[in-house]
Symmetry: D2
Subunit: 366 residues, 4 copies
């Protein structure tokens, strides 16, 4: 059941890195939504590989072909299928090493889970390329949310040991959030850019890679979205975030820092501000009892270093069951963090839209 | 949809802290499973309040009455409903302050979400008391897993600033894991116990509370459980963990540390050990591509300080919409971490069982 | 997964005929709904056994105790659990014959499905008694629908070979529909009552039973509820109806008659009536492409004769695997049709409410 | 949520009659299944239009292109997407009449449900053409079932007033069931073929259409598949059958006939036959308490006459809201019954496979 998600808006993703392509079916959108195709293309381009020295040199146009559910410039209300053809595949790169399980990748677990029949070329279905259709779907969700003044923004919170500032969890500036989307390398403190890029390029030169952290904020979510327990905002968002390859940790608000606090430090005391109920601090990241409290929703995702590195690594040959070593050739991102941002935002946009519809119905969209 | 969870084993929780009681319906268990009632009682007692100075003084027997699905000492295979009566409720404690939104609690979000009609007594449905039925269900799942040699163990990784050692992610000792369950205050380095307990008692004296971290390990899960994307092990476990009140962060394996690593440090290289495919390190916490790789599954949960503190806090009156302050009276845990452990284990046991059945079917159980 | 149903309003049923009782958890109701307890009691009484010579002599008060989710006369918005204790159980009746598989019952299939561990007393979880909690939940759904002018009514379309008239599918009278609910033996042509009751009593005297058909109509459902394919109104309603023990067939509108029609007879031509788009006929039962078209929704359910009869029947002993015979003693309905009506209406009310919320959100309710 | 179905094997259908094409994503198949492409093509051809005078003259190759999830002749275990391009579309036929709501079709309900934005060309997403991908998925399920000796067969039970014999519900011949699949016009009593075909051709000449009934039987399902209540075999199969356009009624075993029976006639008494527990009769169609009892599973589906007829019909213009009339031009089936058979079988194969996996797990397949 890997590929189906959602309660009200349901998506079903499919595809492989080096097969025909990757795609998605989105079910549950109401009819009559005009899609801003430039907006979608912009988001797709944010994720697209091959744009700069910081990313893989695999160039993919990532052109989305809508196969169904879209007619005369509007959604029909019936399932919308979008397909992105793979155009720049070099499958030879992979066949040579098909029996060598790449450390940090899903080669071995996919092999075992799927009875030795997984498509091993470039990670197959496990490839980060599967996030392209998710960005497509998320960019529809984001448009819908923005029309309702709900804004999602993210910045690179850290690359390796270099850390950016954090969002202001209480009074986050709307313009800042809007503008982050326009940056290729979004930071709050832009003076950190050179240092971070250096780290990435140095890793690339070493045939190595680096990890990092993305921080995301959502503004203007009304109070009362979400549920306690199994459908808490945290449950829903984390479940989606861990669907994104390479994410290994998530925290909401002050998250792991709260474990080192006392109650009088961690509790967000209430106040009235401009006639609205607000909190002085926002350690809980806008969520109490799994439900939005009207404050910005904030969370951080930890992203591991790209597992594809050209440095020699010890591994095993899955056929011969012998120890051996490999150097991964091919084209890889030395750091996946910048390209992960539109994916994170797409995922959280879908999740939030799904939860809002639960309360407000499909008729809320329009 | 707060209260229903699961794909193969489905549970539905209900109840309030100061109503008739709390309960759970478990649907999908096969018929004919003998339940070890002592095992269940032991797990219930681990979570039970009122056991020591470290916990709330509210005493609850937490006796489980099975209302259906259990006949002649065995599950019938049809829905099993268990109910735990509330016996020690002091609802007066709460009515006085019903309009004062307790910081860090779900009073305000529940009020808004549920059209001002939530049961406000002691947190109502948002109370940690709702985890009692989850422990009941989880202790059935845990029994089933243990019969198949799958072991789950947890320790207190930190209380406030005091840190315990970490599990050995590669060669974790089975006896250690088994024995942790027998400890009231489970630690790897037991010499840390006094210091941690001191911190908790000092917070109690101050009318304050502290947070902490729990680390959990699962041994002997076969390779190939889980799925990529939306049903990844990380997605499923995190979704369940964030159902537990007070958890605000989760990381798998090295988690947030991986964000500070390079690829050659974070990748887990493969080796053959005793004829089995294993990895030298286990930074990925036993999960690659959302699927188990045969190594121990490890994760950490950040738990915020109990929001109920008796120190005076600023808040608002929800009826008058005015700023005011409150001191929370009543009986509260100065630190919820030790009592959260059996809940975390229950949640992860249910999750894992659900994922194993997906692959192996209900007939695997027996 | 027998006991969990629904997309927006989810219910989870549990219990056994001769255990502690039967119950239901309803998840997804918004907070703040005042429940009309007299209305609920009236519906429960419609289904209740022991009211007349036409039904089983087992007397059950069927008093519903609400265990959670209900506070100060209103729903809290969190899961509502209702429990109905079994008070009048004669389990001895069943233990004697526990190894004799009753023809037409689920004794044998339950035994095989649940590893010989099903509760065999009075059909256990398979008992029609499990429909009592469904009537409880449905009577909440029905109240909500009625506040929005959506009316559900049913009559006994046939008992054995005696047939009532049919609803006017095009211009059904609202008063007629409302009044049917007030009848213990609801008919359109009341002159058929004596003949039908005679049939039932004669069957009872013979130690036999009879089947029949129930026809149900729903008025004032707006156009555009439902979906094509897997969530069609027919799919959703039929799925619920076949959850009711003893129903073996369903048809919408002219149903099986349509198979004997030509296209020009079966098509419902459109007209404008009082400014609204309507159809001259309503052979499709108010549903086209799985979606409501504004005409009354009508369907018929075929109900088999109660399988419990006291006439001697051939069967097998499940332990000895030998052929034998049995006469079922105990208290049974000679005809389940009248008592099935409130269950059918409860089921369809829940289904319809669930589909309306999909479009209009939880905020529609109030 | 119209397009997503399933618990263990999930499918997601998409597409329109006159758009790019129609397709399906199948999620949950295990890796390593060899697909018999000839088998699939044979099933697709059974449903394909344009084969004879009895069907629409629209010719479609219905060639399936597998876009993902299939590698080296075997399933990969990750989502399998199949796409069928539309090649023979004459959309002009439809644009002329786009505002004229065709009686018996979903034009009007689709228009209302989807905010006037549905694709109206040839019924758009509501077209019977959407069943092509379902046949593709079902033919995979059928292959898997056949390898486990589970056989599904159907015949035309009636066309208009001409009736075929019925299956022998107790001792149905396996060869008969296997051979039905090889017939273009499957009947038990082949002497009825000419009369039925005459009826269809006469309707065609009149510019009219006719309905009919399909009877389906499933052999060799083990005892204990299915569940009581919401996941009963009847609930699951009926839900799927009513997803197929034009089906308006379903009955299991003797179905509506049982409503005219007495208990001693309808109950299926048990016997031992060849050492197995069987029943003398099979009025319940192989299902008791929602669970298979080892006897053949039998059900009948009522199919309404094709709503597309060229005879003049009264309707309304949806834009002007005025009464008018139309004659539907274009190419249509005078009777959809023969082409519905492979769709019914595909749907029931998927449903049954899904229920078997619930019990036996994915590892059962292979």
């Amino acid at each position: 059941m890997s590929g189906i998600w959602g309660n009200n808006i349901k998506v079903s993703i499919f595809g492989e890195s080096h097969g025909h392509g990757v795609g998605i079916v989105i079910d549950g959108l109401p009819g009559g939504i005009k899609l801003d195709m430039d907006y979608i293309k912009y988001e797709m381009d944010r994720r697209k590989p091959g744009k700069s020295k910081l990313t893989t040199s695999r160039k993919e146009a990532d052109e989305v072909k809508i196969l169904s559910g879209y007619f005369n410039g509007k959604t029909t209300g019936t399932p919308l299928c979008a397909f992105i053809e793979n155009t720049n595949t070099r499958s030879r790169d992979y066949s040579k090493t098909k029996d060598l399980m790449r450390p940090g990748h899903a080669d071995y677990t996919g092999y075992m889970k799927y009875n030795q029949s997984n498509d091993y070329r470039g990670g197959g279905h496990f490839s980060g390329r599967l996030t392209a259709p998710l960005v497509f779907a998320g960019s529809i969700a984001k448009q819908i949310l923005e029309k309702n003044n709900i804004l999602i923004g993210s910045h690179i919170s850290s690359i390796y040991t270099q850390v950016d500032e954090t969002f202001d969890y209480v009074n986050c500036n709307e313009e800042l959030v809007k503008n982050l989307r326009l940056e290729e390398f979004p930071l709050i403190d832009k003076s950190k850019a050179d240092s971070m890029k250096d780290i990435i390029l140095r890793a690339k030169e070493e045939g190595n890679s680096v990890g990092g952290i993305v921080e995301t904020i959502i503004l203007n979510v009304e109070t009362g979205i979400g549920s306690p327990f199994f459908s808490s905002i945290e449950s829903r968002i984390s479940s989606m975030m861990f669907s994104i390859p390479a994410i290994k940790g998530i925290e909401f608000g002050e998250g792991f820092n709260m474990a080192k606090m006392k109650g009088n430090e961690s509790n967000d005391e209430y106040c009235i501000k401009d006639g609205e109920i607000r909190t002085y601090t926002n350690n809980n990241g806008g969520i109490l009892g799994g439900i939005s409290n009207g404050m910005p929703i904030v969370f951080k995702c930890a992203i591991k270093p790209t597992p594809s590195i050209s440095m020699e690594q010890r591994t095993i040959n899955i056929e011969s069951k012998e120890e051996t070593s490999l150097s991964i050739e091919g084209r890889h991102d030395p750091c996946i963090v910048p390209r992960a941002i539109p994916v994170i935002e797409a995922g959280v946009a879908l999740t939030l839209l799904d939860m809002i519809i639960e309360k407000k119905g499909l008729e809320w969209i329009n």
